[in-house]
Symmetry: C2
Subunit: 341 residues, 2 copies
Amino acid sequence: MRKKRVSIKDIAADLNISVTTVSFVLNGKAEEKHISKKLTKKVLEYVEKVNYKPNQIAQSLRTGESKILVFMVEDIANSFFAKLARLIEDLAYKKGYKVLFCSNDNDDNKSKELIHLFKNRQVDGFIIVPSPRLQNTISNLIEERIPVLLFDRYYPELDTNYVVTNNAEATQKAIEHLVENGFKNIAFITLDTHQSQMEDRLKGYQNAISKYGLTEISLRLPFSKTISNQGDKEMKAFLKENPEIDAILFATNYLTETGLEVIKRDFPGLIDRIGFITFDDSHLFKTYSPSITAVAQPTAEMAKEAMDIILKLLRSDTDVPNRKVVLESSLIIRDSSYKRY
Amino acid sequence: MRKKRVSIKDIAADLNISVTTVSFVLNGKAEEKHISKKLTKKVLEYVEKVNYKPNQIAQSLRTGESKILVFMVEDIANSFFAKLARLIEDLAYKKGYKVLFCSNDNDDNKSKELIHLFKNRQVDGFIIVPSPRLQNTISNLIEERIPVLLFDRYYPELDTNYVVTNNAEATQKAIEHLVENGFKNIAFITLDTHQSQMEDRLKGYQNAISKYGLTEISLRLPFSKTISNQGDKEMKAFLKENPEIDAILFATNYLTETGLEVIKRDFPGLIDRIGFITFDDSHLFKTYSPSITAVAQPTAEMAKEAMDIILKLLRSDTDVPNRKVVLESSLIIRDSSYKRY
DNA sequence: TATATTTGCTAAAACGATTTAGTAATGTAT
DNA sequence: ATACATTACTAAATCGTTTTAGCAAATATA
């Protein structure tokens, strides 16, 4: 069996003092509680010597704090979320929090189950990339005064904390950039979900389209089709049916992957004749042929804001006014958004 | 303040029975402990009604089990590890375990700190992608009978459980493939670490090189240089100094990213004249120009084997013979490993 | 000198579960 | 009628902390 870990009780026994005293010393309350400097020193030295570390589980049970945050994303394997996970991990650990990552596959039931699971684990707070219809679950969390922060997308009708990016504006700018470069028949390939991030991207597209008097050509794929990069048939059909398309904006990274596959496989030569922009940057885009223009969300800032807010929520028992943060994405302009023929 | 969660005590009080009885029923010991069917039913119905969920923290404290596993990787933002994380997450949740992911940046001190941290959280087991010199820490864990499994790399001198891939053979095959396609001056760009996965890849390279009587041309970059895709200067110098190079094998995915950048930026046209293969596949490789040949590690199998082993370790108090699993990578052949001019 | 305050420390309850070691009541065998 | 088993349930200890309430001795104040 495992070697027994040394507990506060052992220390107290070894030093012939009470556990209370040890606990006070360990929690930096020696002064306040009138523990003599001498004894304090003795305890600290002994603690050091036997390499005592408090049992976090026991602490959690007593204090109700687990020092664990949950970061629930759509899919941790998605590079966008993986990157954010890393950023959030680093920030959280600096503040003494650990992070449980989990993937909800944008599925409401899965999200609910996970949230339930974690409530029973007494996690201290949630940073959630919410699935389409999670409003009730979220508002229950809020009612229970559990710190929650929505991330990447939000529910306009729900008064919550969130950190998102200016999807509509960023998309609009991307389209404008294509227009300025001479493209006229600009398609938008997106998901058919009603989530804010996607609706805003669609709005941005439509705004730009109508601003320049162009015609909308959009393909809205069901989320299920995009999992494991399916949806190629639909894209192929879409491109076949709309041969006038001279540029495409992909609303998210996996759509881009599928799109590039379709273009390369089913439309030889098209890759050099079509303009395109994607959401979310990737290292490989810089060296791709053509190099790929991308709407890059400010991941570092997003993570930082998120941690800021969640920490604030964790600290305060009193109500914190909801913080709604909208960060600006930037357009990283590369070759794919210029005419190349 | 938060709404108080219902506890086993509340249930006992409400039903005018003891907490023991409730606990027995909840743990399926009603029969064994001679709780009458009638009372059992009553308890279960009430539990359902008030939507009681046991407090995992209290359970953990009492039982010593946290139902949490740790998956420590180099960097969760790295697509290879992110993908594995997702696979492991799914498998673990199916078995009632949650997974704490963390990144050690291949740094020994960070690894040690993290392991310490998690031991105090009473995590049930560790799946670790170990940093270079973590042998002692790992063997301490083993001595303490904490389930540990090394992943992706191992210490040949340490008798542990591990799941890795056949790096030497896979690399050798990749080089042989290049040789068969007419490449003669094949360079190997890798890290200068002494970790098994990298040493094996180097060995595989050297084996192939000597088998065909070629000359070794290798660049070994310090790990620190590769973080955040630096090391481009070194690669540039390397390629300048060795103009005879007609093919390159990149030992890991971020080296490939940097390599492609250097080639595109500093050696115009070279991308179409050089053969290359990378470790770890990426979605974008299929559509890259040229499409990129990759050594793909069997991530799904790796995750499955890892969970199998760790679950076995968790179940058995008795010693489990160490399981050493070596899985086969496959070479996904695309254009970049053929002569294209 | 008597009283109040401060110093230095501790006993015991609490967090919410599990589990050991019971008790009382009933049934069964001799 | 007595002993033994079985049934149906429970009190209390336990896991390792934190924290409240309080005690005794030393010191300060009147």
